[in-house]
């Protein structure tokens, strides 16, 4: 009986948290101002991408291209005070709606308040993919089937959310050895990844899995590997305006959305977000972001990066594997097709 009451109280607390997050996102809608509004053209079945970014002009052409190819219909992007002209480029794209803000990224829960509002306003009833401009979704059969095939299948099997673990990709050389040119496939340079270096724990409050590890944990965070970033992400969700991302795209409320794994031994479908962060553009970014101190845990990540970069700017090791395709990631057990044959 007491356990039940306790569980009910926890549930109430989670609901209160979700409502607080939603209220906050709605309140902060004033922080972002519309630059190009093309949301009127969003059709009822369209697949949407939600992104917040800053000074990512070099990455944008490939980013848009990649997601257009797998069938994204519309991009909703918040530009956080870019100064590199990326904003103009985005405003010219026919399938991009652009917002702009000068407000603090950190104070807006690392941009999630802004995206929370856009998801609330435009995401309801759509399959929404919330990614950073350096995250590229790989899902089962992505070489043969468009994303819509996946979302149709998820929907027909009653699934509302699709997990995709963040997979840090890196070059086999020093990070700045090969310069990255706009429009180029970042994974032609950053082709390597850690095949098995991941730890998993279950978070009992939100029921999500907490995945850590990867190359960052053995290099930048070698002294304190548990301070490394979380790699679990749930970027693709059939959105409802009652939903809210709690911490980046790592977990959601209501927490049923986080149960993307089977506990009876079977495998559910999952993908990977290939992370194209570790390119030649990284050093400059780390310096800039460090000055702004706008990132998670007082930019601890970037500080560790920079300290690490001075010593060894190489993430590659003899055990790194070269990326081939989604089949390879599935064989390694990093993702799974579940029963989507």
């Amino acid at each position: 009986m007491i356990a039940r009451i306790r569980a009910a109280l926890k549930q109430l607390r989670r609901r209160a948290e979700r409502q607080r997050l939603l209220a906050r996102a709605i309140r902060r809608r004033r922080q972002i101002t519309i630059v190009r509004d093309r949301t009127g053209g969003i059709g009822p079945r369209d697949l949407l991408v939600f992104t917040t970014l800053r000074n990512e002009a070099a990455r944008l052409p490939y980013f848009l291209d990649y997601y257009r190819k797998i069938g994204i219909d519309h991009f909703l992007i918040v530009d956080n005070a870019s100064t590199d002209g990326g904003s103009d480029f985005l405003a010219q794209q026919p399938d991009v709606s652009l917002w702009r803000t000068q407000a603090s990224y950190k104070a807006a829960r690392f941009g999630m308040d802004w995206l929370g509002w856009l998801l609330f306003r435009h995401g309801h009833g759509h399959w929404c993919l919330t990614v950073d401009p350096d995250e590229f979704l790989v899902y089962p059969h992505c070489d043969a089937r468009p994303l819509r095939a996946l979302t149709d299948w998820l929907e027909s099997s009653g699934t509302r959310s699709f997990p995709a673990m963040l997979l840090d990709m890196y070059p086999d050389d020093a990070l700045d050895a090969k310069p990255y040119a706009p429009g180029e496939d970042p994974f032609s340079i950053a082709r390597w990844f850690d095949p098995a270096n991941y730890t998993i724990r279950k978070n009992r409050t939100y029921d999500n899995l907490w995945i850590q590890g990867g190359p960052r944990s053995r290099t930048f965070f070698a002294d304190d590997p548990l301070a490394g970033p979380a790699l679990n992400k749930i970027p693709l969700v059939k959105w409802n305006r009652r939903y809210a991302y709690v911490s980046s795209t790592h977990m959601l409320l209501p927490r049923g959305l986080n149960r993307t794994y089977d506990e009876e031994g079977g495998e559910m479908a999952s993908g990977c977000l290939l992370h194209a962060k570790f390119l030649s553009t990284f050093g400059a970014k780390a310096t800039e972001e460090l000055d702004r101190r706008q990132h998670y845990a007082n930019s601890r990540e970037y500080r560790a990066y920079q300290a690490g970069l001075m010593g060894r700017s190489r993430l590659w090791c003899a055990q790194s594997q070269e990326y081939r395709d989604w089949h390879q990631l599935e064989d390694l057990g990093l993702m799974s097709r579940g029963h989507w044959a």
């Binding site: 548990l226 559910m268 090791c317 029963h339």
Partner: protein, 596 residues
């Protein structure tokens, strides 16, 4: 009742109904007299994606079949109007009276009955009726299907498995579908549904079956001869059967399947429609990348096609005929296709053993394989033989590691900076998820993994290893005393450390002696081991790798002189030895010379 007599083959009038274009499209029908004897009618059940359904209807009609379409009355008026106008030019496509359909409900049976009745009334010379859905794609030309049916025109092609014996369903109810009452919808009122089943089971409620009815189950999609279908529709006890099936579960998988057993002359117990179901009872969707498999299956009809699978819609129907007409009636063989889906089902239900990842995180003891391959754990050996790791590496076919779970850096074989699969050597990261660490190491490596273990190491995996059938655990209990013997620590500290290690090992022993042990375990206490180290070592090595030949040269053993005396001192200092075995007494008498 025999209606076959009324069906005088009259190919000329039949062909007059088929559009000229369709007849030309149909080489086999024209040059094969046999298939002319088959006049195919198709009952098509549609509820969504009506534009696609219209295309399918056109394929059937232009192949020379007559089509009766039932559209769910819940479909939007606009869509239905579009569908009607898209098919307006086809004389052989008609629409039946529309009723509202619910999944797994009697309404689907009624819709089928109505449409079949209308079809047989409007085209009384039909010989076969095929039940298809709007998402069923004919893979082979309709003429080939007709040629196939013509080979044995009296056979009914319907999957019909005895509910009493066949485990046809994927985990659902078999006989209980018919013996319990199912008044509520499973999809919408799941909790009430489950409660009702529980209550009926507890009250041992059993419905009485109508006399002569033997419940059979099978795929919803069938092809019956017109005579069988008429017999089912005109059955004088139809209302009795309907009243019975109305309260059984998913009657559209059992109504025709059971009644065909009563009325059919000969049943071919298979469905001509390739339709596989996932573990949750949903039909599998087919995509463009299945094209090759579908073509090779030579099935006549497949479902369910993803609405945007343009490649499939463009390619099929495609003839399997090499051109000479001989292959036109080849037998379908869906085994290859089935194995693809069966593998997917297995992956969803059982997963890959020893895999822990973002979408597979089994609860304790639900792993279906805690690890993916056999591995060997040597406990205490490295305390007795300082060079044991190197020695063992040359004796068995395995990657031999040091203390993987030791307090310091992870001792991977060869002591690299980064372990196999880029596993970190950082103990904090390992101890954050030791189970994931060990299972990942075993999954990512090709050879067997062997590692050293001792009570000084992280003990978090004791139960995991002991309950894992892949583990081969060789233990020398009390071996941790030997390094202490040579330690120059103050005796008081030694006593404290010994007490601690002994307690840890005793804890582990409770796991090793429990009834849950699934690992292969061989345990010696220190005195037993020292009785005949050579033989014990050989046993241990061959347990880890049965093909290994340890040879004669033992690794160098630590000096155990003075051990009985040391143990006596420990005992006198208040520490009862419970894991080293009976040492002092034997050493005093028989082995005194060897050890003392």
């Amino acid at each position: 009742m025999n209606v076959r007599g009324t069906l005088a083959p009259d190919a000329a009038t039949w062909n007059a109904r088929v559009p000229a274009a369709a007849r030309n499209h149909n080489p086999v029908a024209n040059n094969s007299g046999a298939s002319d004897a088959v006049r195919l009618g198709v009952v098509m059940l549609c509820h969504a994606a009506l534009d696609l359904a219209a295309r399918m209807a056109r394929i059937w009609a232009s192949g020379g079949a007559v089509v009766m379409i039932h559209v769910d009355s819940k479909a939007s008026k606009n869509d239905v109007a579009k569908m009607r106008s898209a098919l307006a030019d086809l004389d052989t496509v008609r629409f039946s009276h529309r009723i509202a359909c619910t999944w797994g409900d009697m309404s689907l049976v009624h819709a089928t009955q109505n449409a079949a009745r209308q079809l047989l009334d409007e085209w009384p010379d039909t010989t076969h009726v095929y039940l298809a859905s709007g998402a069923c794609l004919p893979l082979r030309p309709v003429s080939e299907l007709r040629a196939y049916l013509a080979q044995d025109p009296t056979a009914d092609h319907i999957e019909s498995v005895d509910a009493r014996e066949g485990r046809w369903t994927a985990g659902g109810f078999d006989m209980e579908r018919f013996l319990l009452w199912f008044p509520v919808d499973w999809r919408r009122r799941r909790i009430l549904f489950d409660r009702l089943v529980q209550v009926q089971r507890r009250l041992r409620i059993r419905r009485r079956l109508p006399a002569g009815l033997s419940p059979h189950l099978g795929s919803q999609w069938w092809c019956l001869t017109a005579s069988t279908l008429r017999a089912i529709l005109d059955d004088p006890r139809r209302s009795t059967f309907e009243a019975f099936f109305r309260f059984s579960w998913i009657p559209d998988e059992s109504y025709f399947q059971s009644l065909a057993r009563i009325h059919s002359i000969r049943i071919e117990n298979h469905s001509l429609t390739l339709a596989k179901f996932d573990p949750f009872g949903r039909p599998y969707l087919l995509y463009d990348d299945h094209l090759q498999l579908l073509a090779e299956s030579r099935c006549f009809v497949a479902r369910k096609i993803w609405a945007d699978a343009r490649g499939l819609y463009a390619h099929f129907p495609a003839t399997t005929d090499a051109g000479d007409g001989r292959d036109a009636a080849t037998q379908p063989d869906s085994s290859l296709m089935a194995s693809v889906f069966d593998r997917a089902v297995a992956r969803r239900r059982l997963g890959r053993p020893g895999l822990y990842m973002q979408s597979r995180f089994p609860a304790k003891d639900r792993e279906n394989g805690k690890t993916s391959a056999p591995y060997a754990v040597f406990q205490g050996f490295s305390d007795l033989f300082p060079q044991f790791e190197d020695w063992l590496a040359t004796r068995i076919d395995a990657d031999v590691h040091g203390h993987l779970l030791g307090p310091g850096e992870v001792e991977f074989s060869g002591r690299p900076e980064v372990g196999p699969g880029a596993l970190s050597t950082h103990p904090v990261l390992r101890d954050h998820d030791p189970q994931g660490f060990l299972s990942a190491l075993i999954r990512i490596t090709r050879r067997m993994q062997a590692f050293q273990f001792s009570p000084r190491d992280n003990q978090a995996l004791n139960w995991f290893i002991v309950t894992d059938p892949n583990a081969r655990l060789m233990v020398v209990t009390g071996a941790w005393v030997v390094p202490l013997l040579q330690s120059d620590m103050p005796f008081d500290d030694i006593r404290r450390v010994a007490a601690q290690l002994q307690r840890i090992e005793l804890d582990q022993q409770t796991a090793l002696r429990s009834v849950w042990v699934k690992a292969q375990v061989r345990s010696w206490d220190l005195s037993e081991f020292l009785d005949d180290p050579e033989r014990a070592l050989k046993t241990a090595v061959q347990m880890a790798d049965p093909r290994a030949e340890p040879g004669e040269d033992l690794p160098v053993m630590r000096d155990v002189a003075g051990l009985p005396d040391f143990l006596r001192r420990l005992r006198n200092a208040g520490l009862h030895q419970r894991v080293t075995g009976l040492f002092h007494e034997r050493s005093d008498s028989s082995k005194g010379g060897g050890l003392g």
